[in-house]
Amino acid sequence: MDLSLSTRTVPGPNGDRTVVEVGGEIDVYTAPKLREQLVELVNDGSYHLVVDMEGVDFLDSTGLGVLVGGLKRVRAHEGSLRLVCNQERILKIFRITGLTKVFPIHTSVDEAVSAAD
């Protein structure tokens, strides 16, 4: 399955959040599309991102690299990048690479949008 991406703006108690809904497989072939999307959002001034990974079937280290790159970009603007994920197979990859300490991971988009920075 290919990668699908859609973005929407959701108002939260601490301001607007841009939710990026990702579906399909994030791997060496598709990760550049996600990277472009994140770069574009930051260039357009969206510095508070929520990446919803509930529809992701597969994630590898290339995808992790893109998410870390996105985090660095938003942090340069004092922004935030939060993840939404409940899938054990995906969470495991964040755990074994130690990235659970780098990304705030939430169980729902509502929770991520409401989180204080």
Partner: protein
């Protein structure tokens, strides 16, 4: 003996094919269903790394994946044809005197993906060997398998 051997040109879009083939052969070999996600991820990481090495070094030969069903195990070998790459891989895999793995925060996009891929493989697979050679490097991984548990 090799059960299935796969050669693919070093293009990112073929890595998915390698993952699907590896998972299908692993299932047939009797690798536990719960472990198939790990097989899929590990072989994807090894193939992504090989594709990246071939492309960045201008190597035009294909990446080789050998899937072998043994009596009580299932092994996957992913070979690249970049001389010396295996040495770097052995370094990153924790051979004494190796360079330290970069901290996670230093990983950005292409930088450090090689190390992160190997870190994922090492985190997932208990039995991994990374070897170096004049002709390229090989990552060999194996998992327990019980062929008797497979029907048909």
């Amino acid at each position: 003996m090799a059960t299935v051997e796969l050669l693919f040109s070093a293009q990112p879009e073929h890595v998915r094919t390698a993952r699907l083939v590896a998972a299908a052969v692993a299932r047939r070999a009797g690798v536990d269903e719960a472990v198939l996600d790990e097989v899929r991820l590990a072989v994807g990481e090894a193939c992504s790394r090989a594709v990246g090495l071939h492309r960045s070094n201008g190597v035009t030969t294909p990446v080789r994946v050998v899937l072998t069903e043994e009596e009580k195990s299932f092994s996957i070998e992913v070979g690249d044809e970049v001389p010396g790459a295996g040495v770097a891989a052995a370094d990153a895999a924790g051979v004494p005197g190796s360079r330290d793995a970069a901290p996670a925060e230093d990983f950005d996009d292409a930088d450090g993906e090689d190390e992160m891929g190997l870190a994922v493989i090492r985190g997932l697979v208990d039995d991994v060997e990374v070897s170096a050679g004049e002709d390229g490097g090989t990552i060999r991984m194996s998992w327990p398998a019980n062929p008797d548990a497979v029907l048909g």
